[in-house]
Symmetry: C2
Subunit: 494 residues, 2 copies
């Protein structure tokens, strides 16, 4: 893997000067086009041996191109806000928007790289590699250009480089204890690096190993590769087209659909008020339990318009301290959100430890309204199932309790509720043209919802399918399921 990067590649100064000028001009031109098109981001991951020139390359790329549209993302150890959330939250919030370039240091590769020798961490490392593969797949599937450079130094050259740096009082500070430790266990570290690189090579995001010894060589080599890759990406057909070639789902052959089979009507509950109060008391106790401080809740509400999502949410929040929860209503994405992969706008609302976020509609819009209205291509919403499962698994891994509710009503009940709303002056705004249009697509929503439940109801994040023609029944069922989920998680030992 590193053979070619130990050959002692070098470029003389004259050649460098000649080629640099042309390269720089071409890079600037490509960057202008990237910004103008604005339909994908470029993510450049810089990793490699110590003192192999990662920082220098980042500076040079920013110097060659227009620094206004480049962000350099250096991930230090997580700060408080980051440590209180799933590990990849900080990568998500730093993703460069479409049309710009992000240069990433100490990225998602930083942690696992240096601790392979610890037996204890083996499982985490495996998990991390899977996460990396999925993140990069998601990004490239979304159209991002992901370029990963590994700056390599042979053992001899690393030794020499560290010695030179240490000899000069102006650069001695750059050699850290970790660097020396790395050199001491060079062979083992190189093996681990090779393993990591091999296992995280993917068709659309493969590693490019570059020898880091000669500054001219590594600069021209990486600059040229960035240029070629960006131009190649720009030359493709529109990003959308490229991804639209997946076979759509077929309805079940006997026509039976999961969401048609739910019992919807329930008898009135005589002691509703008492039951509600008892459940709210239980919920309040659970989130004030000291064990809850290491957890968080993400609750998701989906269902037809007027299914009673808002009312159910208010029965939850009524039990909570307002400082502890946040309700996020999902409407059309803002333009900052449109410049990112679709999951970005949900990642940004992931709660920190001890808190609850309740989503009124959610990432499932991708496989419901966006599928039905054609806002997402078949390839996009088909891969969303897996991306969503992974997103929820990451939440679960970090101790976040994911609870998902599908509130089900029938068409008659919806009509009655629409009419009731229209009769009340200030509720009239809640019924829009769109609601009536959605109603015409009832069947499509049942089909898409059934596919959704089938593909995304998992042990860690099951769908609770709740008949909601009777509002009282729905609210009691929602609160019960939520309390049960929190309670069983608090009891779990992990």
């Amino acid at each position: 893997m590193f053979e070619s990067a130990e050959l002692g590649h070098a470029i003389d100064k004259t050649t460098y000067k000649e080629r640099e000028a042309a390269l720089r001009e071409a890079l600037l031109a490509a960057q202008v086009e990237l910004k103008r098109r604005g339909d994908f981001p470029v993510i450049i991951v810089l990793a490699g041996m110590p003192a192999a020139g990662k920082g220098e390359i980042a500076n040079l790329l920013a110097e060659w191109m227009d620094p206004r549209h480049i962000s350099t993302l250096a991930f230090d150890p997580p700060n408080d806000e980051e440590a209180a959330r799933p590990p990849f939250w900080r990568f998500w919030r730093a993703l460069p928007p479409k049309g710009t370039i992000g240069i990433v240091f100490g990225s998602w590769y930083a942690d696992p790289l240096w601790h392979w020798d610890s037996e204890r961490h083996q499982v985490q490392i495996e998990r991390r590699i899977e996460r990396i593969l999925r993140l990069e797949k998601l990004l490239t599937d979304d159209g991002a250009l992901v370029l990963k450079f590994w700056l390599h130094l042979s053992e001899d050259r690393l030794k020499k480089r560290l010695k030179t740096l240490e000899a000069d009082p102006l650069t001695a500070w750059r050699v850290s204890k970790e660097d020396k430790h790395f050199l001491k266990h060079y062979e083992q570290n190189a093996q681990h690096a090779e393993q990591l690189l091999t296992r995280t090579n993917q068709a659309d995001s493969s590693w490019r190993v570059v020898e880091g010894w000669d500054a001219n060589y590594r600069a021209l080599s990486i600059g040229q590769q960035v240029l070629d890759a960006v131009n190649h990406h720009l030359a493709r057909d529109s990003i959308k087209q490229r991804r639209a070639d997946a076979a759509p789902l077929q309805p079940s052959i006997d026509g039976v659909r999961l969401l048609d089979t739910l019992p919807l009507g329930h008898a009135p509950i005589k002691d509703y008020k008492q039951q509600l109060e008892a459940l709210q008391g239980r919920l309040n106790g659970l989130v004030r339990d000291s064990r809850f401080a290491r957890h968080a809740v993400v609750a998701v509400f989906e269902g037809m318009d007027a299914a009673g999502k808002g009312g159910a949410i208010r029965r939850i929040t009524g039990a909570l301290d307002a400082r502890q929860y946040r309700v996020v209503p999902i409407a059309a994405p803002t333009d900052e959100e449109k410049a990112q992969p679709y999951l970005w706008r949900f990642w940004r609302h992931v709660p920190s430890c001890g808190r609850l976020t309740i989503f009124d509609r959610s990432w499932y819009g991708r496989v419901l309204v966006e599928r039905i209205e054609g806002f997402a291509t078949p390839a996009e919403w088909l891969r969303a199932y897996g991306e969503i499962n992974d997103f929820e698994a990451q939440l679960d891994d970090a101790g976040v309790i994911v609870v998902k509710f599908w509130l089900a009503i029938d068409k008659d009940e919806q009509l009655a509720r629409f009419k009731a709303r229209e009769a009340i002056d200030w509720k009239r705004f809640k019924i829009t043209e769109e609601d009536w249009r959605n109603r015409d697509k009832w069947d499509d929503y049942i089909a898409a919802g059934s596919d959704m439940v089938e593909r995304t109801s998992t042990t860690i994040a099951p769908w609770h399918l709740i008949g909601a023609n009777n509002k009282q029944h729905a609210r009691i069922a929602v609160l019960t399921a939520l309390c049960d989920a929190i309670e069983s998680r608090l009891k779990r030992k992990d």
Copy 2:
């Protein structure tokens, strides 16, 4: 001040039940209209004595209204991200967008409230009060409805309340050491509170003192006040109109304008390359100085199109580590930014300690392009001068070094540069129709720029007016001024 709030107000249960239903319905209706209009936020500040019901009121408001459009902002002690920036940064980033309601606990009033007795803090307290007045003025001038409630308890009632809470094992945890300390020094604390309330009363954001003893009374009282205030605010003429009544600035009587008087042409610099390298080395040394870790840099570039802002910025970034700086190009605001006061989109980019943010165009757009194109009303851009001075003073207070550059070229030079850009294929995108239109308004920009410098060049954040017909001269001058500013700040003892 607190006389009426010690009368023992109370509302019986029957009256409460009757009035609550109507109030709730009216609040919901007002909230729907607020969201629909979407042209101002409601900011409800909850402060007061310990155990006077602040948390209960927040929960109740969220329960009465639609929690999806309410955010509850509880400010705990600053976390690392917040502590590395000016104190008000965390308030700015949490401001509720237009059309929504934010309920603020432990707000900008939290710190100064309890430490008035410390002589040592007197100056900070004075400073903080000024900041509060300015923040609230800015928010209300921008159309926000700011409602501040002080929940009061007399000494006897506070004593009784704490005793009751402590007696019940279920509520004993709610009584903190601070609460007891507060009670012990009740009289003094009440005096301090009165002083704070008096000094932070403003026409558009006055305090409303409410007795916190009886839960029914305080709930109805605050609910009704919120309702009336929101409805009153909704009933006004459009927010824009209300603010448009300020006398515009007059040009100077003798027609002499500051920015017309700058020397623009400079002789070529013979040893430009050496000078540039020396300055870049100096800059690099300054930002790696250990003292710089307690500071940060905000550099601002303004000037006519093609004045050489981008080139000057690249000469700065060329001296820096890419991980340490960020260049923020200011284009049209995103829709998330439009839902906030105009300074919000700059506050969000304020660097943390040890870092540099370089703005390519800036908040000065408010008094330049927005003034000239009529995007801001005269009242809006006229008050912007003071708001900007305050913003920069806050940066300076927090150790941020603010350096502002106006790069000046003449009309002939601009024309030559436009034409040169059009001749280069990939630079053609840099010249737009808008650039040509702006050129026609040259005189307006000179006038607005002159007014701007006159009103915003301060000792802590002076404008550097730099003749830029000669690019080399401009770059050397920019780097010199930047280095001087950092150096003198690092030497300053404070």
